[in-house]
């Protein structure tokens, strides 16, 4: 039903869009090689300044400045609904090879939480480019020194530890903690999780009102360097590279065999042409290997994680299944 409605809405939008202008579909030569013939619009489904926006702008910058793509790639912000507004916009650009958007785990989680009618299945995965990881942070003088200390206490009484994240239950901050804690044997249906969208959780951990802050790795570096907090564990497969980063122990090396990847990649509208997908795959590969991009990755502390369209689709399917199972267990999944 949801899908049917989605398709209906999308085709309606398409009809409207088609009525408004003559959007070009690019040029395909005799060998079936496609090239763009007009500027490629990259949508960041959020306001300026956040992770999606930064990724989109940096990708656009490298594509243009390194002349990997011979067209302008303007970034537009479509904020709202935790991404839902931007996704609905792209869904309305069906088959257009000159539109794409940047996506990450919320593209799976938001629809599963019943807050978007479109999900990763509705779009055309082009390529994944980077990976980021979650970190679990406590105050520098907290009683726990590693994840096992913390989870041992939580196994006895899950309610004895409070956890804060920036976003609501069922979102990335919450789910990355749930995923790791569950693998450690904690009863995750009974966590004391609070969401602090206003001041973002770090304050609450620093002043001791909450015990654990679940956030991204990059957000913790400065506070760790200043000796205000300690990182009990991160959700990456292996230790990260970098001055402070390499000190963060992974969950895996602490005997908890689980990871959480904050992947970030690019998607086209529904039904994008094969030839165009191949074109973008190659271009993203070129971007991924370029000096300029490697520099940007280092600057922002992003990990490399290139996947082509096919690998990406399979990876997303797996991620979605595992998230669905977790949300079902928590009673958070909605239709």
């Amino acid at each position: 039903m949801k899908k049917l409605f989605g398709t209906a809405a999308a085709s309606l939008l398409l009809v409207t869009a088609a009525g408004c202008g003559n959007s070009s579909s690019g040029a395909t030569d005799e060998d079936g090689n496609w090239t763009p013939t007009q500027p490629i619009e990259i949508t960041a489904p959020a306001g300026p300044g956040g992770g999606w926006d930064t990724t989109a702008r940096m990708v656009s910058q490298v594509f243009e400045e390194e002349e990997i793509i011979d067209q302008r790639l303007p970034v537009v912000n479509k904020a709202g609904g935790g991404g839902a507004i931007g996704w609905a916009y792209i869904a309305g650009q069906e088959e257009s090879p000159h539109h794409m958007f940047v996506g990450s785990p919320p593209l799976i989680l938001v629809p599963l939480n019943g807050q978007s009618e479109y999900s990763h299945e509705d779009f055309t995965p082009l390529a994944n480019v980077i990976a980021d990881y979650g970190a679990f942070v406590v105050k520098a003088d907290a009683e726990w020194d590693n994840l096992n200390d913390l989870f041992d206490d939580m196994k006895e009484d899950p309610q004895s530890v409070s956890i804060v994240g920036t976003s609501s239950p069922g979102s990335m901050d919450h789910m990355q903690f749930v995923k790791i804690a569950k693998a450690a044997g904690v009863d995750v249906t009974n966590l004391k999780y609070i969401s602090d969208p206003e001041s973002g959780g770090l304050t609450s951990v620093l002043n001791g009102s909450v015990d654990v802050f679940t956030t991204g790795v990059a957000e913790t570096i400065e506070q760790v360097r200043a000796g205000k907090v300690k990182v009990l564990g991160i959700t990456a497969e292996e230790r990260l590279e970098g001055e402070v980063l390499s000190d963060f122990p992974t969950a895996i090396e602490q005997g908890i065999d689980e990871t959480f990847i904050n992947w970030r990649g690019f998607f086209g509208p529904p039904g994008m042409d094969e030839a165009a997908v191949t074109y973008y795959e190659e271009k993203f590969k070129e971007l991924n290997d370029s000096e300029a991009w490697i520099e940007i990755r280092e600057k922002y502390g992003w990990g490399e994680m290139y996947m082509d369209s096919e690998e990406y689709a399979a990876f997303l399917e797996e991620e979605a299944e595992s998230m669905q199972a977790l949300l079902d267990e928590l009673g958070l999944a909605r239709e």
Binding site: P48, T54, I85, S167, S168, P169, E198, S209, L332
Partner: protein
């Protein structure tokens, strides 16, 4: 590097030719964009970010900071002249600023706002310079329980914002509470009152409500009363000069609110808006003539204008010394820092003293430039009132639409804006005050969330408030402000 030599290196940045030039550009752009009804510091900063890409980070950030406090400085104009606040922080400015302009004292009102802003800005920069390391402890001293208590204290103002019927003020506030619950509830992830509409998932933006209830409702009233004879009063700009009496009257609020505003600004999540409301309320409570508030009181104008600028400097404390953005605007500003490869946080003052102290030192310069820039402009800015009414009304409508559209580029918000315009108009017709609505809308969301966070932490026990001295005293003050007038009333009754 000790603080003194640090500050000296900061002044070197701020007083270099480049530094002075870019502080000027920053505050000029900021104050100009801030003056536009509907456009505030977020738009101003977002517009300027791409310009900074290839600049020297310390110069770029000095400029961006200038854009930020410049926009707050300039934001008062549209509140005073058109009743169309462009930022949440200048809503309270309209309470007494707009009535003053209507009485033909627009020039004076703008002058008071400029001087109050300047003083608030400058005093708070001194505090920022002297106490930042100490204050970072204050910034994190507020947990959910303390925030709830602060919001509670702010809400006790509802009764004092009523002119006339207290019942109507409470009904209006209740509507504000209801509207703010729309959207995804952060604590459960459930969407509330969205009717399945994805446009409502993130809730309704403050600006939509403020421009609807204030600017559009005013437009409706003007259109309805178009046949009333214009006495020419409201077109008068009046003199800019402040009498000794005026200065005496504003000196109290300005000196008090420079400090109070700064302290509230230091708290992440509180910021300029809450500072301006609390300033307005405290001044009304302690004034000898509280009945003048809302009718063009100098105190009522000076207090929020001082506080919102002081709070703006205050917001730099958690941003620079902890890397915690306390508001949507400072979050965008943090983004600007990161783009330039500068990571604000506890180590900024050691790692990049020229940036830390450069921003602070430039704020002295910036505030002086703002005053020098704004005072001579007042006669020109207030000429806006000379625009024939039909044209002025259309301009207000256009700017309100642009301001709202610029938030998310979503046409749905425009319909919402119109809806709130209609609601605001009917509220006026039946004399329900709009101020309690907006106050409840601003404080309500955070109040609900912080209460639920507190109770989650305490496993549902209200006893947690008894263990928190700051929270307890704030609630006690709040209760006193409610009970005191009642007790006073009874005593009078007994005597008679």
């Amino acid at each position: 590097m000790d603080a003194f030599s640090g500050l000296m290196s900061g002044f070197q940045v701020a007083f270099s030719l480049e530094g002075l030039l870019f502080v000027f550009i920053g505050v000029f752009v900021g104050t100009f964009i801030g003056m536009m009804p509907g456009l505030g510091p977020i738009s101003a900063i977002a517009i300027m970010i791409p310009i900074t890409y290839s600049m020297d980070p310390s110069i770029a950030l000095v400029m961006m900071a200038g854009v930020y406090y410049g926009a707050i400085f300039g934001g008062s104009s549209s509140s005073i002249l058109l009743n169309a606040p462009g930022v949440a922080g200048t809503v309270a400015t309209a309470f007494d600023g707009y009535p003053m302009a209507k009485q033909g004292k627009a020039g004076k009102a703008l002058a008071i706002a400029a001087i109050a802003s300047f003083t608030g800005g400058t005093v708070s920069v001194v505090l920022l310079m002297l106490f930042t390391p100490l204050l970072s402890a204050v910034a994190i001293s507020f947990g959910p329980a303390e925030y709830f208590a602060l919001m509670f204290l702010g809400l006790t103002a509802i009764a004092s914002l009523a002119d006339g019927s207290a019942i109507k003020a409470f009904i209006s506030a209740t509507l504000g509470f209801m509207v703010v619950t729309i959207g995804i509830d952060a604590q459960t992830g459930t969407s509330r009152f969205t009717f399945g509409n994805p446009n409502l998932l993130e809730g309704i933006d403050f600006l939509v409500v403020a421009l609807g209830l204030f600017a559009l409702a005013e437009v409706c009233t003007l259109v309805l009363n178009r046949n009333e004879k214009d006495d020419g009063q409201s077109k008068n700009i009046g003199s800019l000069r402040l009498s000794k009496q005026d200065i005496k009257e504003m000196s109290g609020p300005v000196s008090r609110q420079s400090f109070l505003g700064f302290i509230i600004g230091v708290l992440p999540g509180a910021g300029a808006t809450i500072a301006s409301f609390i300033a307005y309320i405290t001044e009304k409570k302690i004034a000898k003539n509280p009945e003048e508030f809302g009718k063009g009181s100098i105190k009522g104008l000076a207090a929020p204008e001082t506080a919102n600028n002081a709070a703006t400097s205050g917001a730099f404390v958690p941003l620079l010394s902890l890397g915690i953005p306390g508001s949507g605007t400072t979050a965008v500003l943090l983004g600007a820092f990161l783009v330039l490869g500068v990571q604000p946080g506890p180590l900024l003052v050691q790692d990049r003293p020229e940036i830390f102290w450069g921003i602070i030192a430039s704020m002295y310069v910036g505030n002086i430039i703002l005053l020098v820039l704004n005072l001579p402009l007042i006669p020109y800015i207030s000429k806006i009132l000379k625009i024939p009414r039909p044209l002025l009304i259309s301009l207000v409508i256009i700017f309100s639409l642009i301001g709202v559209y610029a938030i998310s580029f979503n046409t749905f918000d425009l319909y919402l804006l119109l809806a709130f315009g209609v609601i605001g108009f009917f509220m006026r017709m039946f004399s329900f005050p709009a101020a309690p609505f907006i106050l409840a809308f601003i404080l309500g969301g955070m109040m609900e969330q912080s209460l639920r966070q507190t109770l989650t932490i305490s496993n549902g026990s209200f006893g947690i408030f008894l263990d928190k001295p700051i929270a307890l005293s704030l609630i006690a003050v709040g209760l006193l402000t409610i009970l005191f007038p009642l007790l006073k009333g009874r005593r009078k009754y007994k005597v008679s």
